[in-house]
Symmetry: C2
Subunit: 327 residues, 2 copies
């Protein structure tokens, strides 16, 4: 390996090598989708969801659009990171006084381990869509911290370690609708309750594939060059938005500094389960598994707001591609 992931080994993570003849920097699992329509009773579509290694196996927080159309978060477990069983009841959050919190809706969760605590960052409502921030140590009791930001915000991603002693969060200030604009910002906190020192990180692209808006995806991956950031970029066509996967490397100590930004998308919606579904043409990366020993990276992505799929790459392939095609 030319490049190094700073992280743990994860020998049992799902992985397949790049198919013969492919020149794509990200490739698909041959048995996609890993979660298809109607995966459990009451859930019509499970997508845009996050998986993490936990106690030798895998656990995830999943966006399940119910048969009312309203999304909530459900826990799912897997031995191999591919086949999941789901809790039929949504995750229940409690406030710091132990009182049950009722969420109007909850969607697009990210899941990040930081100093032994697992944080769930998702979109919920405080009189308008904004970020929800929950935490658990055991995936049994879930505490909801106060909303970090005012409405309107989406695509919040906590960094997996503190930076200069502070918690750091990517987010994407939005509007109350489908948000036909959007850049990635960075905010800091000493206590996860009060946030400030907001910095602009990356704007939507002059490149057409991300020319309407961008938003952070999985938790950043620390590597030898800085933080590897996968993000989604959207392009408005005459028939709606098309969502692709992009990537950049930002500074280790000041993630508002973009060191390398790839001009190209790394993967676009092309497969039937990406180009057709509840929302056609959406490929939406939400979480990764990584193995520091081999440099392997697995990406969980939503397809067409309908299914969950697995994608693969490795640290050398993705960094080579970013550097070769950087702005």
């Amino acid at each position: 390996m030319k490049h190094t992931i700073y992280g743990k080994e994860l020998a049992n993570m799902p992985y397949q090598p790049r198919p013969e003849g492919s020149f794509s920097p990200i490739w698909r699992y041959t048995e996609n989708p890993v979660i298809n329509r109607n995966p459990f009773e009451g859930a019509s579509r499970v997508f845009n969801s996050a998986v993490i290694a936990y106690e030798g196996e895998f656990i995830g927080v999943f966006r399940a659009d119910t048969t009312t159309g309203i999304p909530y978060l459900h826990l799912g477990r897997s031995k191999d990171g591919i086949h999941f069983s789901f809790d039929k009841e949504p995750i229940i959050f409690y406030d710091n006084k132990g009182k049950k919190v009722t969420l109007e809706y909850a969607y697009d969760p990210r899941l990040v381990e930081l100093e032994g605590t697992y944080f769930i960052i998702f979109c919920t409502s405080n009189h308008g869509p904004t970020l929800g921030l929950g935490k658990t140590k055991d995936f049994k009791h879930f505490e909801l911290i106060d909303n970090p930001f005012l409405p309107f915000n989406r695509n919040g991603v906590l960094f997996p370690r503190k930076i200069n002693g502070q918690y750091a969060m990517f987010s994407r200030p939005s509007d109350s609708g489908h948000t036909m604009f959007g850049d990635i910002f960075l905010s800091y906190s000493k206590d996860l309750e009060y946030w400030g020192h907001h910095r602009h990180v990356m704007e939507k692209g002059y490149e057409w594939w991300c020319g309407t808006k961008i938003g952070a995806g999985p938790a950043p991956i620390e590597c030898d060059l800085g933080w590897l950031v996968f993000f989604h970029g959207a392009n408005l066509t005459c028939s709606g938005l098309v969502y692709c996967i992009g990537a950049a490397i930002v500074d280790r100590d000041d993630p508002s500094k973009v060191l390398h930004r790839c001009s190209n998308f790394l993967l676009a919606p092309e497969e039937p389960y990406e180009v057709a579904g509840f929302v056609p043409n959406v490929l939406f990366p939400v979480s990764t598994l990584t193995d520091a020993k081999t440099g392997r990276i697995a990406i969980y992505a939503g397809g067409a707001d309908t299914i969950t799929e697995l994608l693969f790459t490795d640290i050398d392939t993705v960094i080579d591609y970013i550097l070769k095609n950087e702005r």
Copy 2:
């Protein structure tokens, strides 16, 4: 007086009693506008500006739309609160390391004294409109604190004292355009740098005059019933927005609790300098002067995004009107 303003005496504040025959809870200064078009070289319109008592006279931070159309903040001084002289150069802010800060634009300033420091809260850009927060002790050196919130936000108003030991700020989450929606939120901070515990305070009205959006106006006035809050409410007509003045009383210790909200506007744009101008039909309250001894209240308001005018009321009249016409 039936009701009491909790604050200082201000015997020399501008004031006129309610005209004979008027039944309006707020009335206009007979010599309005107090600042007309082109008040000083380079400034085409001075409006939506804030005045405060200072060293026995009056000082203000004024929105001056320049002949490029871009607004900046200028200092103005007055012996009587009616006739102002202006600094021709805009206010220059420095960061906490003494480095000059360049603002892309600055508008709609509020000016609040809190524990001997004067805070200026205004709209500026951090890759999109959001709140700027400056402070001064002498109106000579101005320090810019970090932007309290992510974009998009406007109409930030700091409370004139800490609440339960924390700074408190009203704001109005917005979008990147002319924002055809908007409610008032409350946020807290221990240090003015990191903000959290965001609470919804008041939604736009079912009443038509404020049916599109509302936003906080002058700094809240502490009185015997709680905090007296003047705000603006806007109503979208087929020819644009009409801005009126509304009022409510919120809880002293938890200003997210609305105790009394007036269903009626208190004053609507009716005079020629309010119904016609750069933006017709705007009456936009930004600051108040109060005299605790007499209960008198003077309101500085922008008219038609063009001129600055003075309005008057008193604590009994305004509270009686709110209580008589509350929801």
